[in-house]
Amino acid sequence: MTMFGSNLIMYEEEFDRINAVLSRLWMDANAKLVFLVDKNGQQIAAKGDLDKVDATSLASLTAGNVAATDGLAKLIGEKEFSILFHEGERDNIHISIVGQRLILVLIFDERSSLGLVRLRVRKAAAELEEVLTQMASKAAEQGEAPASPFAEITDEDIDALFTE
């Protein structure tokens, strides 16, 4: 919980590992697209044919979807629904919760199957959880996060953002 109590900070090493897991999953599951999103709707990493989708909207709607489903689960006394599956005419979306904080999204068509996807996702999810655990212990070891890149931000910096 300590790790997730504050801001999520991702470093190069974990980022690379996550990307490697997603790449493998993308290939092994014959998916069109694989996404990792945090529960607040921020996209963390993705692999696949990104040009054809609006990745930011996908991330935000996925998080909304998961949040609503979580709400439903609580209402009926479930802890969570760890897998959501949406079947379309051509494409399908498989959504699963990883380590309580992250959402793994996989888009696939008839070149794959739900069985294959479920199998591969299970393996990838275990690997991603490992990365998360590593991140948590790293955060615990280091105690405080490194100085924020914004530590010396000035009003001028911020004003500059809004002038076009």
């Binding site: 999520l8 900070i9 190069e12 709707g41 930011t56 909304g64 609503a68 953002l161």
Partner: protein, 194 residues
């Protein structure tokens, strides 16, 4: 809960527009969308009912450029204002970095403003946040309406901690960017403390 990605040098922050139903939250977002360069914005997503009332949320990703070498992206969300959508409102406040309260200036809506403000406090608390400390700005919308309550009166009724306040006419864009900027500023300052 901002997400700082040191690998891709990106920072993502979440700002939520809160307030009573039909107060102009979605209109604020629509104006921001219309007035932002295409390369700096994503799609405006509205999960609305058939009568254009917000059902779950509106969402607009906004790219504000770089601060200290980090690409700064704000994710703007609105909540559904109608009282019975409370469960949805609570969900949207998850991981919020800053809140904009859009108050309706019409006299007949003052009770709704107060009720919504109470609801905001409560739902923030449920998500582990405190309105007293979270980046926050207050917007008095619909200032052009004849039934608008005097500024001083609204200020006394709704301001809670000396937060910046703005008079707005959202469809015309008056006060819209000013309000957003005020919260974005606080959010970035908050980050500098971490």
């Amino acid at each position: 809960m901002s997400f700082i990605n040191y690998a891709s040098r990106e920072i993502n922050c979440k700002i939520v527009y809160y307030g009573p139903g039909l107060g102009g939250k979605t209109t604020n977002l629509q104006y921001v969308y219309e007035r932002t360069n295409p390369q700096n914005k994503g799609q405006l997503i509205s999960l609305a009912t058939e009568t254009d009332r917000t059902l779950f949320f509106d969402f607009l990703p906004l790219d504000l450029g770089s601060v200290r070498g980090f690409r700064t992206r704000f994710h703007l969300y609105t909540v559904p204002g109608q009282v019975f959508y409370d469960a949805s409102r609570k969900l949207i406040l998850k991981g919020v970095d800053g809140v904009i309260f859009v108050a309706d200036s019409q006299e007949a809506r003052m009770d709704a403003n107060l009720e919504s403000l109470d609801n905001l406090k409560h739902n923030l608390h449920e998500n582990g946040f405190d309105l007293a400390v979270i980046p926050y700005a207050l917007q008095f919308n619909k200032r052009d309406l004849p039934s608008a309550v005097a500024y001083d009166v609204m200020l006394r009724a709704l301001q809670i901690k000396g937060e910046p306040t703005f008079e707005a006419v959202a469809p015309k864009g008056i006060g819209v960017f000013e309000t957003l900027k005020a919260v974005a500023k606080q959010v970035l300052h908050e980050l500098s403390k971490k």
